[in-house]
Structures are given as structure tokens and as C-alpha cells.
């Protein structure tokens, strides 16, 4: 009998299709894994309602577990409690920065055009002299920033609470 810990370990090998350095566990998308009568039930929660990566993650989770010899897997999506960036693991935040995406700062950005946007350090040179280009970035979960020092344009994984 495979243990729950083993399942979690295997899920660490399933990566986010949009941000491949992060696993679905780092991302905080996997909420639970439990054995029900004759199948493993994996509970996931979407980052954003319309995130197109969710279906891919569901498929990848099933494929990974199948590869490990687990035949019967059901992936259940729950909406509540709603995902927040607090569920992103510390390891996940570290990996994001290494990858060139600034991890979420601990506050929700209230500005769009006027107020001072959240200060986000540049993932390349660590300068705090950066500016927000757009609140909406390449995917629903990111905003678009640029570093005023090294000129690097970068994605900021925006804080959602």
C-alpha cells in the first residue's frame, strides 16, 4: 500500500505548465490526497477561476501517478477556501526568484494607474528601484514590472488574498 507521504512526494514531480520550476505542491494548488475505498482522491484548488493551466495540471497529476503505478485516481476541484498566494511554499518563492519571476510581496496591490504600486525588488539585480508597467501580465497570476537600474523587464507573481 502506497502511503500518503509517498503520493505527496510524487506530486512534487508534477510541474506547473506555465511556470515549470514550480511543482503543483509548491504552488499550493494541491490541498489534499486521500485513499477512498479503491482509488486515490487528489483535491486541487484553482489559482484563478479561468486559469487554463488547471486542466493541464489535472491531467499531469493523473499521468504522473499512473507512471508510478497508481491506476485509479480522481482529481477533485474545490473552490473554498479560495487559493491565496500565502499557500505558495517558501521553497516555491525561492525557486520563482531564481527563475526570474519576483515572488509575491506580502500585500495586495491597490494601485492601477495612480497610487504608488507595491515595491517589488528586481529578481535579477535586487534593486528596489523598479516600476510597474501593467497590473495584468502574461498570465492571470502575474503583473508586468521593469527594473529602472538594470532595465530588466520581469514578471511579478502578484499577491492574492
Amino acid at each position: 500500500m502506497v502511503t500518503k507521504d509517498q503520493i505527496w512526494e510524487w506530486l512534487e514531480e508534477v510541474s506547473d505548465p506555465e511556470i515549470p520550476v514550480l511543482s503543483v505542491v509548491d504552488l499550493g494548488v494541491v490541498r489534499d490526497a486521500s485513499f477512498e475505498e479503491n482509488y486515490w482522491s487528489i483535491t486541487i484548488t484553482p489559482t484563478y477561476s479561468g486559469c487554463p493551466a488547471m486542466q493541464v495540471m489535472e491531467y499531469d497529476i493523473k499521468a504522473k501517478l499512473k507512471e508510478k503505478g497508481i491506476e485509479y485516481v480522481k482529481v477533485r476541484t474545490v473552490l473554498s477556501p479560495a487559493w491565496t498566494t500565502d499557500w505558495l511554499s517558501d521553497k516555491g518563492k525561492f525557486k520563482l526568484r531564481e527563475y526570474g519571476i519576483a515572488p509575491p510581496e506580502n500585500e495586495v496591490d491597490k494601485s492601477v494607474l495612480f497610487a504608488e504600486p507595491t515595491m517589488v525588488p528586481c529578481p535579477k539585480c535586487n534593486s528596489r528601484n523598479t516600476r510597474m508597467v501593467s497590473q495584468f501580465g502574461s498570465t492571470a497570476c502575474k503583473a508586468h514590472y521593469q527594473c529602472n537600474e538594470c532595465q530588466e523587464p520581469f514578471d511579478y507573481f502578484k499577491c492574492l488574498k
Binding site: 477561476s49 479561468g50 486559469c51 487554463p52 473552490l79 479560495a82 501593467s134 497590473q135 501580465g137 502574461s138
Partner: protein
């Protein structure tokens, strides 16, 4: 529930038309991000509506295989994208209503609706901030941007009243605690709208001409065109799967 879902679906579809056509790259991405959130919300709501109906229809079937008269979205949301000012006013009037709606829907006695509201509220807050600031920037911007956003408001205001359409369906749902009490929704919406318009130096048109019908399935001429785009694949290749 269909009303909630159809609002998200039709506005999401409308905004999706802007993909690759936004006025500037950042705004193109922002509007399609919002579209994506709305389509996601529509998926959750319509899937659940199908489940409650219990007739074997899922969200896709409800989205793609109904006739025009069976859609219950607001007339406001099916209006064309027009110029950027029209798109922003349409979105702003809607966001200013959806945020307080979801805030109240979290207290629904129906746990799935409450979960959908909790999720959607976080996204809607971003949308409302975005459109509020654009209304102000355009209204209090150049002479031309001011004129255009005022014109957009003059044109779309007649559809705003329908947002608060309520009939026996709503009353029944409120009584059973599924829809929370929405009586204060209108005053909150008015407060938001008025304060942003004041800051944007634009004014609400004085005529009281109003349109309604969307909630009952009576749509404007634009609806058919949206559906022919939306439903094309399912009509041309019945039961196709992506």
C-alpha cells in the same frame, strides 16, 4: 444562477473579441485577463447550474447549446465593444455591481455558490480597481478623452437600470437564503458610480430612458452575432470535444 453565469459568459465573450485588438499591448492583455476570469466564473457557475438542474447538462452544454431566448444576461453586457471608452464604461458599471454582489453572496446558504463568490470576489476587486481608474483617467484627461467617455456613458446609461431587475425568481431565492438580501446593493453601486464619475468630471445623463429584457431572454440585435461566434464549433460539429 443562469443569470449570474450568463452575465459572466457573455461579457467574457465580448472582451475576448479584443484579443489582439486592444488599444495598447498592456490594455489588450488586461482586458483579456479579465475575460479569462469571467469565462472561468461562467464555467463554475454554469456547471453548478447544470448540476442543480439535474437534466444532464453541464456548463458547456448550457453555454453552447441554448437558443437566444434562453440566455438571461443583462442587455448592457451584449453591447458592442465600441471604442475604448465604451468598453471601459460597460465594464465599470458591471464591476461596481458585481463586487458588492459577491461580497454578499459569500453569505449564501448554498455552500457552492458561496465558494464561487469567495473565489470570484478576489478577481472582481482587481477588475473594479482597473476600470475605476480608467474612467477617472479618461474623464479627467484630455478634451477628447473626456468627450468620448461622456459619450459612452450617455449611450450606455440606459442599460444600467436593468442591473437591478428583480422578479419573483429573485424574491424566492432571497427568502430561502440562497441569494442574500440585495436591497442595499443599488445604493452601494450608486455611491461607487457617483463618486468615480465626480472624480472623472463626467455626469450622469438626465434623461430616464431605460431598456430591459435581457433577464427575460429578450435581447438586442447584437446577441445573435455573439452567439453565432460563441456556438459556431458546437453547431458545425455537434458534440465535438476540445
Amino acid at each position: 444562477m443562469l443569470r449570474l453565469g450568463d452575465d459572466s459568459l457573455i461579457l467574457g465573450q465580448r472582451l475576448g473579441e479584443l484579443c489582439g485588438h486592444g488599444p495598447i499591448l498592456e490594455e489588450d492583455i488586461a482586458l483579456t485577463n479579465i475575460a479569462l476570469d469571467l469565462i472561468g466564473q461562467a464555467t463554475s457557475i454554469l456547471n453548478y447550474a447544470g448540476e442543480v438542474e439535474g437534466a444532464g447538462r453541464d456548463g458547456d452544454k448550457l453555454a453552447f447549446l441554448r437558443f437566444e431566448r434562453e440566455y438571461t444576461n443583462l442587455l448592457l453586457l451584449e453591447q458592442p465593444n465600441g471604442d475604448f471608452a465604451d468598453t471601459i464604461i460597460r465594464q465599470f458599471l458591471f464591476d461596481a455591481y458585481r463586487k458588492p454582489l459577491f461580497e454578499r453572496l459569500i453569505n449564501s446558504s448554498d455552500s457552492q455558490l458561496s465558494a464561487i463568490a469567495e473565489k470570484s470576489l478576489k478577481e472582481t476587486k482587481y477588475h473594479l480597481r482597473h476600470t475605476s481608474e480608467w474612467v477617472i483617467r479618461l474623464g479627467d484627461g484630455t478634451e477628447e478623452s473626456h468627450q468620448r467617455i461622456q459619450k459612452a456613458l450617455d449611450n450606455l446609461w440606459r442599460y444600467a437600470d436593468e442591473i437591478f431587475f428583480s422578479d419573483s425568481v429573485d424574491e424566492e431565492l432571497t427568502k430561502s437564503g440562497i441569494l442574500p438580501d440585495l436591497s442595499d446593493l443599488r445604493s452601494i453601486w450608486e455611491q461607487t458610480v457617483k463618486s468615480i464619475f465626480t472624480e472623472a468630471t463626467i455626469s450622469i445623463p438626465s434623461n430616464n430612458w431605460k431598456f430591459e429584457g435581457g433577464r427575460k431572454g429578450r435581447h438586442s440585435e447584437h446577441m445573435g452575432y455573439i452567439l453565432s461566434d460563441l456556438q459556431y464549433m458546437q453547431r458545425a460539429y455537434p458534440n465535438m470535444e476540445w
